[in-house]
Amino acid sequence: MKPSDRVNKGDGGAVFLGMRHSFVLLVLISLLVGLITRALYLQVVEQDFLTDQGVQRQIRTIETPAYRGAILDRFGTPLAISTPVDSVWVNPDEILGNLAALKKVTGKLKLDYRDTVSMLKQRADREFVYLKRQLEPDFARALAAGIEGVYLQREYHRYYPAGEVVSHLVGFTDIDDRGQEGLELAYQDWLRAEPGVRRVIRNRRGEVVEELAQVKPAESGNDIYTSIDMRLQYIAYRSLARAIKFHAAKAGSAVLLDARNGEILAIVNQPSYNPNRRRTTATLKLRNRALTDVFEPGSAIKPFTLAAAIDRGHYHRGSNIDTSPGYMMVSGHPVKDIRNYGVLDLSEVLSKSSNVGASRIAMSLEKKQLWESFKAYGFGELSGVSFPGESSGYFRHHSQWQSLDHATMGFGYGMSLSITQLARAYAVIANRGRLVDLSLIRKEPVRRPMNEISRHVMKASTAQLMMKMLTEVVGPKGTAQAAAVDGYQIAGKTGTAKKSIAGGYQEDDYVAVFAGIAPASNPRLVMAIMIDEPTQNGYYGGLVAAPVFQEVMSNALRILDIPPDDLPTLARSKGQGA
C-alpha cells in the first residue's frame, strides 16, 4: 500500500473498508459451509463406516466361563472336580515387537526363550497363541499384571482327588475338557459346560465398563452322583492290590453290589493308574477290566447249572448224583474231578466242586433249556450300566454247541463273562430269583419297587435252596472257608479256571474267582472277585480270591451297619479270645 492511500480519506477509504468486510465475511461463511459439509459428509455418507469402527474399538464379545459338572460318590465326596485355572496367551505380532517382555515371561514360566521366539515366529499370522496352559490363577495373575501384551484366558482344570482308587470308573478328560474314558466319556453331554457369550463395552484400558447384552447365558455342567461308596471302594481297592501283590498276579478285578437295587458300591481293578498324572500310562492299565474283560468263570458257574436243573424239576433237595469213577467221557474228551467222590448229594456237588456232577446235571437238561436259563441269568447280555466298552461276554447260541460244550458249560468252560456279570447273576440268588439291572449311578432315595427294576428268572424256592447250599461252601467243610466272616452267614462259591489259549488250555495259567453273598439270612451285599494268573502262594479261588472277599465284606458289613445274623459263631470266636 502506498502512503497516499492512508492520507486520502475520501470515498476510496469507505470502499476499501467495505471490501475488507465482505472479504472477511466470505472467508467466515466459506469456512462455516466447509464445516457443515464435512459434518454432513461424516454424518450421512461415512456414518456406517465410522460407527462400525467405533463399535469395533469399544464393543467386544467375550466368553463367560462355565465349569464341567463334578463326579461324586453317593455321599458327595468328589471323585472328579473342575477348578479354575488360567492359561497364558499372547498375540505373536504384538509380543515379538516387545522382546524384553517376552524374555521376562519365558523366564517366569520356565520356558526356553529361543524356542518360544521361533515358535511364535512360525505362528506370526495368528492372533492367539498359548504360551502355557492351566496355571494356578494367583500365579498367572501376578505374571500377567506386570507385563504388557500378555493375556490370560480362564479355563478349568479337572482334578481327580481319589486318584487311582477309582480311576477306571471315572476315566478322564483331555485338556479341552472332553471326556475320553469311563464316566467322563459316558456322561459327556450331561457333564459338559457351555460357556456363555456377552457383549460388553470396554474402555481404553480394556476394562469392561458396561454390559450391553447377554447373547447366551453360561451353562455349567450337571453333577453326577455315582452309586460308589468311597469307603468301600477304598477298602476293596486296598485288599485287591494287596492280594495281587501277594500272589504276584497279572491283574484283577472286584465288584461289590447292593443286592437289593443293583447299585454298584465298589468296582476296582488292578493294575491301576493315577488320572492326575497319566501321560506315562500304558493303555492296558486304562481298562476297567471289571466291565470290559471277560474270562471263563469255571466252577463259579456251577450254582446256576444246579439252579437251572432244579427249576425244571430234574433234581430236588434230596437228589443224589453218582460221580464215580471220578471222570466221564464226553465225545472222546474226559471230564475229570480231582478224585473219585462217589455218590454226592446236590450241595456236595457244590461244596466239593465236582465237575463230573455238574456235567451230569447240565446234560440232564436239553441244550436249549440250559441256554435259556443261563441267558435269563444275564450271561451274554449287558448288565444295565452304560459304560463305554462294556462287554456282554461270549455265550454262543445253543444251536452252535457241540456235546462237549453242553457238558463243559455246566462247570463254566466254553463261555466267558465279565466279573460284573457274574456278580449280577449271584444277585439273582440273593434276590430270591430276580435279575436286577445294575447301575453306576446313585438311585434316588425313593426306592423303586423290585418288580420295576428286575424280572423273575429263577423260582424263589430254587434261589433259597441255592442260598442254603452256597452257605455250606463257605462252611467248615467247603472249599471257601477263607471267605467266612465272623458273626455272619456267608454264601459263596469259588472258581479256579485254566486260562484258554488258542487251541486249548494253558496248564499253568489260572484265573481265581470267588463270588459271595452276605448276610445269607437276609442278603444285602454281593461281591465277586477275579484274580488273573496268580503265580505265588497258591492259585485256587478259595485261597486267592476268597480272602479278599472276607476282608472287604467284614469291613463293609460293619461300615453299613448290617446286623450280624450268626451270633453263635461270634460267641465261639469270643471263647477263643484274642
Binding site: 465326596t77 494367583d138 482327588p161 481319589a162 476394562e207 468311597m230
Partner: protein, 86 residues
C-alpha cells in the same frame, strides 16, 4: 401465557436432562460394583475349589487310615471286646 408454558417446559427439559446424567452416573457406579462383586465371586470359586481339593486330599482314606493306625495307635476291636446291646 406462552411465557409461562415456555419456562415450565424449559424447567422440565433441564430437569430431565440432569436426571439422565445422574442416572447414567448411577448405572456406571453400580456396574463397577457389580464387576467388583463378580471378581470377588470368582476369587471365592477359586478358593472353594482349592479347599475342596485340600479337604479330599487330607481326608483320603489311605491318609486317614495311616494316621489312625500309626499316630493315634487305633485298631479294630477284637470280637472279645465287642458287647452286643439289645
Amino acid at each position: 401465557m406462552n411465557r409461562a408454558w415456555f419456562s415450565l417446559l424449559l424447567t422440565l427439559v433441564l430437569g430431565s436432562a440432569l436426571t439422565v446424567v445422574y442416572v447414567k452416573h448411577q448405572s456406571r457406579v453400580l456396574f463397577a460394583d457389580l464387576r467388583n462383586i463378580q471378581k470377588q465371586q470368582d476369587q471365592q470359586v477359586i478358593e472353594w475349589g482349592r479347599l475342596q481339593l485340600q479337604n479330599t486330599t487330607l481326608a483320603t482314606h489311605s491318609n486317614v487310615e495311616s494316621r489312625a493306625r500309626k499316630d493315634l495307635k487305633m485298631r479294630l476291636p477284637e470280637n472279645v471286646e465287642l458287647v452286643r446291646l439289645q
